[in-house]
């Protein structure tokens, strides 16, 4: 590799470099300022701001970094920087900003202030892993990035004062994650054995030009899907999700439910598109190699995911757990968008994800504020909250309405584009199943509203007073949910721009 090449490659991974540098800075700062950790969140913010600028530039500044070839010298890189990856990196960055504020407010994190340095270092480890996952086009880099993300999140899931539920969350996440990634690695080894390469583009070339045993390839694909499926918590790789979400500190739960899932989706889409799709047809449908039936697998998995997620959320009494199951269901809807295997479906996924970010994090934030004050996450304890704390009640209502997907919120626009994509692809039966699922979701989200507004509290509900910065923050989260609900043009345009995945 010559230096010119190296230079251009490095310039393409600027955000990743920034994050790594700030990871080190945080560790150093933690060592220097042993007593006062107040600086660290601001250091983290500085890193995020720089990285976000670099990510935004990546929407237009695209290319292959680290061109490297085992076999075919295709000169396509291990990392592909494109608008699609930038979109997901943006999602990750936005949720990281929100996470910093979450952590700043969260009582759970405040209690372990001494460990703030490690906390942020691990978060930056996660971000680095997720950034690589959003743009990696080499199976080994994917595996390394996945491990980076996983190891950081295993620790973070148990990051609080040592309690049974935190350490249990950690252990479950660990065993489950390690098993899935072990399966994935075995799948990667089979891919390697078949094609002699781990580069997605080269695998694509190979699959297109050689006769391969479909069974072997299908099995390897399923093994790799196990690794991805666990990250996006799709059925049947979702079992860890509710337990970990309930056990982890709320800030981390919220983060896992959005950022980590975003990285998983970016990976899934890029893996399918780069390794299996030969070209887009005129309508934007993907010409997919017939070696493995991704369409059926994704439809099967997404239907199971949303149905199981919704059915289980139906009777939860812990709101954090309810949100965990509902996040599984949301992953199911989005998988359906991927299953369309077209640019239109992908646009729907991107739009959905962008809105999901705000509505889900917003709901989690309010749940955290209430838990900070009342110490409870039980839905029964929300009785009468709409009257004692009208601001929180109304805000949570709006987030819930958005999560159901009802107008006039952004959640509706997400579902609308998804349904349109499904119908345009003639997947009518599937669309109707998704619809029935939304009806189930209607029930359990509305249940929370019922408790807040229509049920009188038997005991005197504590008034949850909200300090001004939190009000501003909630309004900041609410604004996109409401504004994009009626004026969604810019988001749709941006998403349309970001479906461009390099490499065809």
């Amino acid at each position: 590799m010559n230096y010119e090449n190296l230079y251009s490659s490095l310039s393409l991974i600027q955000p990743e470099i920034t994050i790594s540098v700030f990871l080190l800075l945080i560790v150093v700062a933690d060592l220097i300022f042993d007593k006062n950790k107040a600086l660290i969140p601001f250091l983290a913010l500085a890193g995020l701001i720089i990285a976000s600028v670099q990510v935004i530039l990546q929407v237009t500044n695209t290319g292959y970094a680290f061109p490297f070839s085992d076999v075919y010298l295709s000169r396509k890189g291990m990392v592909t920087v494109d608008a699609f990856g930038a979109f997901f990196k943006l999602i990750i960055i936005i949720s990281s900003f929100i996470l910093v504020y979450f952590s700043y407010v969260s009582d759970e994190i405040k209690k372990s202030e001494k460990n703030l340095g490690e906390y942020y270092a691990l978060i930056f480890g996660m971000i680095l892993g997720m950034f690589f996952l959003s743009s990696a086009s080499d199976l080994i880099l994917i595996y390394v990035a996945l491990e980076l993300l996983s190891l950081s999140s295993y620790v973070l899931a148990g990051f609080s004062k040592l309690r049974t539920r935190n350490s249990e969350a950690s252990l479950k996440y660990l065993i489950y994650g390690a098993t899935s990634s072990g399966l994935m690695l075995f799948g990667i080894s089979i891919f390697y054995g078949l094609s002699g390469t781990t580069n997605l583009y080269e695998i694509n070339t190979f699959l297109a030009s050689h006769q391969i045993n479909h069974l072997t390839l299908s099995f390897a694909s399923i093994l790799i899907f196990a690794g991805i499926g666990y990250k996006i918590s799709s059925v049947p790789f979702h079992f860890w999700t509710p337990d970990v979400y309930e056990g982890a500190p709320i800030s981390i739960t919220a983060y896992l439910s959005v950022a980590s899932k975003a990285a998983g989706f970016a990976l899934l889409v890029r893996f399918i598109k780069s390794a299996f799709v030969t070209s887009d047809d005129s309508l934007g449908y993907w010409e997919i190699l017939s070696v493995f039936d991704w369409h059926s697998l994704l439809i099967l998995v997404s239907i199971l995911t949303m149905t199981l997620g919704n059915l289980t959320a139906l009777w939860q009494n812990n709101i954090k757990r309810m949100l965990a199951y509902s996040s599984i269901a949301h992953a199911g809807y989005m998988l359906l968008g991927v299953a369309v295997l077209s640019n239109q479906g992908l646009v729907a996924v991107l739009i959905y994800f962008f809105f999901y970010l705000f509505m889900n994090l917003g709901a989690f934030f309010i749940v955290m504020l209430i838990a900070n004050k009342t110490g409870s996450e039980e839905i029964d304890d929300y009785n009468g909250l709409g009257y004692t704390s009208p601001f929180l009640g109304v805000a949570l209502t709006l987030f819930m309405v958005a999560l159901i997907g009802l107008p006039p919120t952004a959640g509706f626009i997400g579902k609308l584009y998804l349904f349109i994509a499904l119908v345009d692809a003639q997947m009518i039966t599937v669309a109707i199943i998704a619809l029935l699922n939304t009806v189930i979701a209607l029930y359990y989200y509305i249940r929370v509203l019922k408790h807040m507004f229509l049920t009188k509290s038997t005991v005197e509900t504590q008034t949850v007073s909200v300090i001004r910065p939190n009000i501003i923050f909630i309004i900041f989260m609410l604004a996109p949910v409401l504004i994009f609900g009626v004026y969604f043009g810019p988001v749709v345009d941006f998403a349309k721009r970001c479906v461009q995945i390099l490499g065809l």
């Binding site: 085992d70 350490s167 252990l171 660990l174 075995f186």
Partner: protein
């Protein structure tokens, strides 16, 4: 008489299955982790064997190297987590660590 790819694949498959078996049957968290180690080792044999017999150069070996180190890092984290589990549950039996459910 030459050793063929076949044999190593059979070995790696057996190893992988053993790993799976350990993960599912062992109740001690530590031994479950061992099962995961076995799975990773199986994958490693694959990488090396494929690169040798497929004539893919040394890339398989490099990959194996990465995996070895990742496995070690994972083991370190895992052990620390198990220690914390022991601290809170006074126990490392995975069957009894089930406060979070349903």
């Amino acid at each position: 008489m030459q050793v063929e790819l076949t044999h190593f694949l059979v070995v790696s498959t057996l190893l992988f299955s053993m790993g799976v078996f350990a993960i599912v049957t062992r109740k001690n968290a530590i031994l479950v982790l061992m099962g995961i180690e076995l799975m990773l080792n199986a994958a490693n044999i694959n990488f090396v064997a494929f690169s040798k017999f497929g004539g893919f150069g040394l890339s398989g070996q490099v990959i194996a190297l990465f995996v070895i180190i990742l496995a070690a890092a994972e083991a370190a984290i895992a052990l620390a987590i198990v220690l914390n589990i022991y601290k809170t549950f006074s126990n490392v039996n995975v069957d009894e660590i089930n406060n979070l459910k349903e």
